[in-house]
Symmetry: C2
Subunit: 309 residues, 2 copies
């Protein structure tokens, strides 16, 4: 049995007329006679009652017609689904999101934009740290990650592709009652007297190392009193007055009400926010996602970032 049999049978069953079905199918009538004869032989069932003039569906034929209609429409749906999937309009993308990502409006806007323009593609957003994202990407447990460039070392580079989305400036988080809270900017020298909170090397090695290098280069390495594994912990500690914090984030507003962000004049430590994915991944949906994220939150050659139309 082939779909041809079913298509022919459906046409004849609907019309209960070989001639009209032949016209609709754009084949000659004898072809239908033969195919239906073969189909009936294979099933061992008379699908049509041969009347003196014309034909009529038998009881078995009527039941079979219902099934065939369902089957053929299911075939169409399956083909359509495969096509949409192949063209990237349908599917699931597993996106790794470290908590820092939420701070960048071009990321959340980009995600929203994609979801609106590709409603068939489910975004499986997974909150996980940058280091974990890289590992998950490599073992195929994640399709795309959003991380700081500092977390990718050269060994990671092979097999992974990346695209810059924007930048994160490293700033000082201070409690609103802190003397430095009202300042336009501060210098590293001013931090020497302060208890400073910083990242944890264990969970963000590359970032930690680059931050430390920059501090040392500035000539005024601060006094770190606490390593924080996440931004939210760091902000919490700053907000209860445990010290000032070195954080890399977007914009000038902290996610906690009573904490202010102050630029550091002589540090100039910038991190790139990257989209990362497997170079071998040929998923059309992924390509579409990357394209849209890059396009939406396009990074200008000069270094800043702006929204594209």
């Amino acid at each position: 049995m082939e779909l041809r049999h079913l298509r022919y049978f459906r046409a004849i069953g609907r019309e209960e007329h070989f001639g009209r079905a032949a016209i609709a199918l754009r084949v000659a009538q004898p072809a239908l006679t033969r195919q239906i004869r073969d189909l009936e032989a294979e099933l061992g069932v008379e699908l049509f009652e041969r009347l003196p003039r014309g034909v009529r569906l038998s009881a078995a034929g009527r039941a079979f017609l219902d099934d065939v209609e369902e089957i053929l429409s299911q075939v169409d749906r399956a083909a359509d689904r495969a096509r949409r999937m192949g063209s990237g309009h349908l599917g699931t993308i597993r996106v790794g999101l470290s908590e820092i990502a939420a701070a960048y409006d071009f990321i959340s806007r980009g995600l929203l934009h994609f979801r609106e323009h590709e409603p068939g593609v489910a975004l499986d957003l997974r909150s996980m740290g940058s280091v974990l994202q890289i590992a998950a990407l490599k073992e195929g447990a994640l399709d795309v990650g959003i991380v700081y460039d500092a977390h990718i070392d050269d060994r990671d580079a092979e097999g992974l592709e990346r695209a810059p989305l924007g930048f994160g400036e490293t700033m000082l988080a201070v409690h609103e009652n802190h003397p430095l809270a009202a300042r336009e900017s501060v210098t590293m020298a001013e931090l020497a007297e302060q208890p400073v909170l910083g990242p944890a090397r264990a969970t963000a090695r590359g970032y930690y190392d680059r931050l430390m290098s920059a501090c040392i280069e500035s000539g005024n390495a601060p006094h770190f009193v606490q390593e924080c594994t996440t931004h939210s912990i760091l902000f919490s500690l700053v907000s209860v007055g445990m010290g000032v914090g070195l954080v890399t984030t977007a914009g000038s507003r902290a996610p906690v009400p009573n904490v202010r962000l102050v630029p550091i004049a002589d540090l100039g430590l910038r991190f790139e926010v990257l989209l990362v994915w497997r170079a071998l991944d040929r998923s059309a949906a992924l390509r579409r996602f990357v394209e849209m994220m890059v396009d939406h939150a396009s990074v200008l050659p000069g270094g800043g970032h702006a929204r594209a139309g």
Copy 2:
């Protein structure tokens, strides 16, 4: 797209290996390569990722495989259903049952027997009068009827086929306190003094006419005081003492507690209980039903009836 494509794709998708799939399908491997190439071209989707060594389902291929599995099993189910329907093991038979039928145990037993042996065939039992059954049969609203022969006249005979199932004896229904209740049998002469209940000509013309003819032939036409359209009405009236009733039924027990059935020695009016169906009806389930009913409640050539093994 043909089922061949789907069958090949399913085999390769399950194995993720062209060679083994070719063996399982009993075709040469190049045939698969070509069919899959065509299928992918038609869908515009790469269903398999071509690895340096071997193949792997793509995301679209994996989704398509799920659909294809469903489609192919549905095709099998549809074919199976059509076959079962064609062989009479599946379907629906609309059976007309007049209330008299319930009195004959070979009918209820036959129905039960059929239901047990053909669980795939639904019996759509419809309670309707004999005359209505004949009409419904002719216009295709009913597949088989169970009626007294008296209701079929020669005009009905054409187009309808019949088979005898058993006999109904015409007896006298009397209230248990009635003087005749204890008798072994009565004669028509004895009924002359009685108020008699009989059938209604409007709803059972053939039966009524034959009953009347027999009464007149007996030489003692009784005095009918009431026409009853149904057996249950007649029995009700007898049970409240409105008179004695002439009824045709099976066995010697009335369906109402305080009514007795007494044979009428000199009437000898017997009616055949018939299975009736359209001669042109080629439904296998119907044929199976007729065969089983006749076989089960087989009527012996001598005239009586007995149960067959």
